[in-house]
């Protein structure tokens, strides 16, 4: 069936800079902002933008992500003529087949999937960004400008520019140069890793790139420069609003804190972010609890104090426990008298009575957000230092 525009969501990355948090799950499946998982943001943007066909390219530890996506029904993406399609690497006749060797190669290996839908345009998305964007507006500009590729860009400030892929823009408004993480950036117009391609142009570019033995099969490093070199029109779609890449512990923690200050309005019913929620009752705030400047989700039970923190579903904070400036993922338990400060607790982490995780910034080099990987138990009275990354259970040293 013919589609004007379909989306391909790159969700195969390991998220290695999140260490213990992504040791067993793909990054897009990480809980975020209380109720959500990171992939909810691009999926909801698709649904809200009227894009009803989304191919999700998975590779690293996809089991939980696959289960989470299901039929796509929670995002209203389970229509008969569209839907969410999980696209893992696969084998072909003659035992030919390969892992996805790069972002461009992942799409290349799924050319058949796209051809069946016969779209005019293909939207390429990442599974690790927190933002709200109307892709329909981006597509409108893409068509108006007659571009082969439109790249969403955002001003990041000259200080930050060297961490990004920077787009230099000519007098005609089109992109005339792309520099990946430049040492001396000429501008602060950074690529957000969100592309709309005219499918015929992208299809051609992917096939040519596959034939190039020196290519890293990457959109930013290979496909975009090649289109520029070939004289194709590349248009920058200027995005204003909240956008964060949550690829590191610090950025994941920061972005969660941003949700507390409503930097991204999650209560706006005209652009809802949708998610698959476990079936749990409302959360319970106990008689001696105190909760301030915090996000709390259904299924939580709070009897202690919670300040400046984000609690996903089914988190328990027992009486006398204290949580501040922290992100608690689903099922985390903070027992009586335990303290959690400036920390991220993965799913089902248990901080036993009297244990301490993290501390407030103290100005030292070693300070950082303390992180406990999923299913870790911090034993009674144990101490997790600021900046620590805990993969395994910890027992108090005497």
């Amino acid at each position: 069936m013919k589609k004007e525009c379909i989306a391909m969501l790159l969700a195969g990355g390991q998220g290695s800079r999140l260490y213990a948090l992504t040791a067993n799950v793909a990054k897009p499946n990480l809980p975020f902002g209380g109720k959500y998982r990171i992939i909810d943001f691009p999926l909801s943007n698709c649904a809200n933008s009227g894009i009803d066909t989304v191919g999700v390219l998975t590779q690293y530890r996809p089991m939980k992500l696959n289960a989470y996506l299901g039929t796509g029904q929670p995002w209203d993406l389970s229509a008969d003529d569209g839907g969410v399609f999980i696209l893992p690497p696969y084998m072909s006749a003659g035992e030919k087949g390969n892992w996805f060797s790069g972002t461009a190669n992942a799409i290349y290996q799924n050319i058949d999937f796209i051809d069946v839908r016969d779209p005019e345009y293909v939207l390429i998305l990442s599974g690790d960004h927190i933002y709200k964007m109307d892709y329909a507006d981006m597509l409108r500009e893409h068509k108006e400008r007659g571009a082969a590729c439109t790249i969403a860009v955002i001003q990041v400030g000259m200080e930050e520019a060297k961490r990004f892929g920077i787009m230099n823009i000519g007098a005609d408004g089109y992109i005339n140069e792309f520099e990946e993480k430049p040492v001396h950036p000429k501008s602060d117009t950074a690529s957000m890793g969100i592309y709309i391609f005219t499918w015929s142009k992208l299809r051609q570019a992917l096939i040519e790139d596959e034939a190039d033995p020196d290519s890293q099969r990457d959109f930013g490093k290979n496909i975009i420069p090649k289109l520029l070199a070939a004289g194709e029109k590349l248009w920058p779609y200027r995005f204003q609003g909240y956008w964060r890449d949550v690829g590191t512990i610090a950025s994941l923690w920061d972005a969660n804190m941003d949700m507390l200050s409503q930097d991204l309005d999650l209560y706006d019913q005209s652009w809802p972010i949708m998610s698959r929620s476990p079936i749990r009752p409302p959360h319970v705030i106990g008689p001696e609890a105190a909760v301030r400047h915090s996000i709390v989700t259904e299924g939580c039970v709070v009897d202690g104090t919670v300040f400046n923190s984000v609690l996903s579903n089914q988190v328990t904070v027992e009486k006398g426990a204290h949580v501040e400036y922290s992100v608690l993922m689903p099922g985390a338990v903070v027992e009586a008298g335990a303290e959690v400060r400036f920390a991220i607790l993965g799913e089902n982490v248990r901080v036993c009575a009297g244990a301490h995780v993290g501390t407030a910034p103290d100005g030292t080099e070693s300070w950082g957000v303390a992180t406990c990987g999923p299913d870790v138990t911090v034993g009674p009275g144990a101490l997790v230092a600021p900046g620590a990354m805990l993969y395994d259970d910890l027992v108090a040293t005497t």
Binding site: I285, A290, R292
Partner: protein
Amino acid sequence: MRNDLHGIIYTLHSETALRELVEHRNSASIPFGGRYRLIDFALSAMVNAGIRDVGVIMERDYQSLLDHLSNGADWGLARRSGGLRLLPPFGLPDAHSGHFSGCMEALRSVRSYIQDDIPQGADIVLCAADWAGNIDLNRAVELHRRTGAEITAVCSEGYGDFAHHRLVVDDDGFARRLVFSEGGPGPGLFSREIYIIKRDLLLELMDYCSDSDHSHFHRDALAHYLAEGGRIAVCEHNQYARRITSVRDYFDASMELIQPQVMAELFPADGLPIRTKERAEASTYYSDTAVVRSSLVADGCYIEGELDSCILFRGVRVAKGAKLKNCVLMQDTVVEAGAELRCVIADKDCVVTENCFLAGSERLPLVIPKGEKV
């Protein structure tokens, strides 16, 4: 796995003592417990027992019930074979006036559904939808099958302070005597009005009631069955469950939810889930000025004021300086800055404006009808 078990929920006329709560809806769709409608408890009990076909008999004021149930997907009942069947009056050839004088008459109006869509030899779980509880029907089904009973009843110790029926259980575990109580204690056990009944027997009892111009399930059908020498297996359920028949009941039941024991019985962490209609909501946000204690709060709320012993449904907003004690605020209700509420039940989409002071009492809670601005 197929288990030849089917469900029928009847949502007939609502008790008048529910007043404003049933002005725009049937008692089956009264919002309860922060994110549920009463019918969720009956539906979840059925789904949790592996039932995949549920018929819902509707009589009147069922628009909100239709909105809530939709195609049954949120209960896993949007299915090709079976699934949720909505049975409005006038919907089947057997229907007549659209007003049912009792459960048996309502069943008669859906006779073709029972006869054609529920296979011979199957069992039917039959219940109303005006109660809250987490009832494990698996136990009752197991008893029903093990004893070979034609009818199994779910009963509790204790009593209701409303008219109800009681079953007197003999030493062999079967009840052969049915007692009507005007309210208060009585002999035997308190019937939860949840029955497992053989489909073929139900059809026979429907015929009997039709021929003799009777319409009540207990007074007519069950009494006849027992008089003819029948016996009813009884499965005791003594966990939390209660019927909601008046505004006061509703208020009391809501306030009970704040007790951890009640929450644990109704929503056990690792037990059977109560399912409901999903909504796209963010988590709830508490601001720097929020002061909250002893409250039950659903997702999507935005709290800047003070809450003490309150139940908040999805999407409620409580502005800075607002003070609420012993209140139930239903979906998307807004309480503006400085307002003070005590013992108030605010229905859906209400607005309590700035500095407004409203107080009911625990015996007579104040109800703000749906959509009102105070």
